[in-house]
């Protein structure tokens, strides 16, 4: 990747983190940890990989993203706003009565969202259906699904893992935000995913492990998956709460409410300075 592209992706990811923290802290509630861990992946998707038209979100040449870990809507909304799907100011309407931006991604409400998610495990099946339907029409559009490591405890995820390679979909990439934490606990304390890359490979996927905070590595992994003869599975090693150091890898960083946001202004301010320094 060219240095300039990489720099742009890093700036985009920072901007996503800023907008995410700003919107959820101003609202007083929101899924912080998983939104920050997935920010770099979303930056790569919307910054360098996916085809889309913010003026025409339903453009039929678009690639599709299903955020199956739908609670991380704020990270995706930030990316969509930054890219011009709707005004940035609208981010502050999160969860207000009648909003187009509820916590969980919602196909019926938000320009740029193609699938509702929030009940874990469901989005990834829907994504497979989209990939199958596009394949049937010989369309080149890609379908991406992002799942969480806690979400991967849902049996429904493994139904998709088993069937997708059997259906020969190649336009389908599942990205695991493997941040090692779920709602109450560290994932390993409940149910270890083990060597999840190997598991995916055994199920018939073209599977890779990458550093989920390195835009270059994520981008390369996507390129390799696209070139492969199978559906792609990218195990992204990530840190829950990435970027807000005090909240990284600690319990209770899943969703924050009220006083738990203490210190957020300073974090946002530092991100802003960092972003300005990169211009």
């Amino acid at each position: 990747m060219e240095a300039n592209t990489l720099n742009e992706l890093k700036k985009f990811a920072l901007d996503i983190r800023i907008e995410t923290l700003n919107m959820i802290s101003k609202h007083g509630f929101g899924h912080m940890g998983g939104s920050l861990s997935v920010a770099d992946a979303i930056a790569v998707l919307y910054g360098n990989q996916m085809k889309y038209d913010p003026q025409n979100p339903k453009w039929d040449g678009r690639d599709y993203l299903v955020l199956s870990k739908g609670h991380c809507g704020p990270a995706l909304y930030s990316a969509l706003a930054i890219k011009g799907f709707f005004p940035r100011e609208e981010l502050l309407t999160i969860n207000k009565l009648g909003t187009r931006l509820p916590s969980h991604v919602d196909k019926n409400l938000t320009p740029g969202i193609d699938m509702t998610a929030g009940s874990l495990g469901q989005g990834v099946s829907c994504a497979l259906g989209m990939a199958l339907g596009l394949k049937l029409q010989n369309k080149p559009n890609m379908v991406y699904a992002i799942i969480g490591d806690g979400e991967a405890q849902e049996g429904q995820v493994w139904e998709t893992m088993l069937i997708a390679p059997n259906k020969g979909v190649k336009n389908f990439i599942v990205m695991l935000d493997n941040n090692k934490q779920q709602l109450d606990e560290f994932t390993n304390h409940i149910s270890s995913l083990g060597d999840v890359r190997q598991k995916a490979e055994d199920f018939g996927w073209y599977a890779l492990t990458v550093n989920g905070h390195d835009p270059n590595a994520i981008d390369e992994a996507i390129e390799k998956c696209k070139a492969a003869d199978k559906p792609g599975f990218i195990n992204m090693e990530t840190v829950k709460g990435k970027g807000w150091q005090a909240k990284e890898c600690v319990l209770n960083n899943h969703a924050l409410r009220g006083p738990a946001f203490a210190g957020v202004d300073e974090v946002i301010e530092n991100f802003r300075k960092e972003l300005a320094a990169m211009q």
Binding site: L97, S103, S119, L183
Partner: protein, 313 residues
């Protein structure tokens, strides 16, 4: 009216622990959410009787059923939609059809998870549970009833679904033994009967006082058990007042309102107005805004009851 407020989760945890001390068969099944249900005390004291399965609600219902076959009394608690809608068929067959001794608690019911939006609302949980023959459905109204209902549930033989919200729960009644299947006349009145269930009832009580001050005397009936339904008390209310309003934080379709209509059609045909969540997809939004939007606040209840009681029969 000012009531003393309690944390529903704490009550659930406390009663579980007390009952577990007396009954070694009680176990707790969780899907990444037990501490959020007040179970920390139980987990600390009885780590071996606690199964944190991870996020797998469908499987958790099956595991609970199996534990029941092995003689255990499993309590499976999670957000209402993930206990009812997500694993519905498992609930129907693994718990309902086999009449397994499983206790399911759906918390954050109604639109209590207002910050999380439609995927996390439990607006059809009573309807779903009520569809399964032989499942007892409980929706306690206040802190005392919640304590009583928890105890009754854990001592009852057979499947139970108990729904509960999130917000602090008021103590309205004195503590007494909770009898499954019994409604309760909380206020006498002859102009209209308001039948209600769950924690939204507190708004009904306030509305009834306002209505009385405006010359409408409402009988108020509390229904902390939705199945088996106390049909006798519904018949009595219908005959005494000739009009019924049902208030619940649930879809107007399928819940207590529907159950009351079914009973009235059978035993005492009178006009029934269902005041619940309109049968549409509700927005995310602050809880209090949603209560108002659905007219489930005291003012909304007053308005609805007034309109209904002045209508021609």
């Amino acid at each position: 009216m000012k009531y003393e407020m309690f944390d529903a989760k704490k009550i659930i945890g406390e009663v579980t622990l007390q009952e577990a001390d007396a009954n070694p068969n009680i176990v707790v099944v969780s899907t990444d959410s037990a501490p959020r249900t007040g179970m920390t005390g139980f987990i600390t004291k009885y780590p071996n009787r606690y199964y944190e399965l991870g996020i797998m609600e469908q499987g958790a219902v099956g595991v609970s059923s199996g534990l029941a076959t092995a003689g255990k009394v499993p309590i499976f608690c999670a957000p209402a939609p993930f206990v009812t809608a997500r694993p519905f068929e498992m609930f129907k067959i693994d718990i309902g059809y086999m009449q397994q001794n499983v206790k399911a608690i759906g918390r954050n019911c109604g639109f209590n998870y207002s910050d999380l939006g439609p995927t996390h609302y439990g607006l059809e949980d009573m309807a779903l549970a009520r569809l399964i023959p032989g499942v007892t459905v409980l929706a306690p109204i206040d802190a005392s009833q919640l304590r009583g209902a928890m105890r009754a549930m854990l001592r009852h033989q057979g499947p139970v679904y108990l729904r509960i919200g999130t917000a602090p729960i008021p103590k309205i009644f004195e503590e007494e033994e909770f009898t499954i299947g019994k409604g309760q006349i909380v206020r006498e009145g002859k102009d209209v009967a308001i039948i209600t269930t769950g924690e939204i009832a507190v708004n009904v009580f306030e509305a009834a006082e306002t209505l009385a001050a405006q010359g409408i005397n409402a009988m108020v009936v509390a229904m902390p058990t939705v199945l088996p339904l106390d049909e006798a008390i519904i018949k009595k209310a219908a005959e005494a007042t000739g009009r019924i309003v049902v208030v619940e934080e649930h879809y107007e379709v399928g819940g207590l309102g529907t159950a009351v209509c079914e009973t009235c059609a059978k035993l005492a045909p009178v006009p029934v107005k269902r005041l619940g969540v309109p049968h549409v997809y509700l927005s995310a939004g602050p809880y209090i805004d949603l209560v108002k939007y659905c007219k489930l606040d005291p003012a909304g209840i007053v308005e609805t009851v007034k309109e209904f009681t002045t209508q021609e029969k």
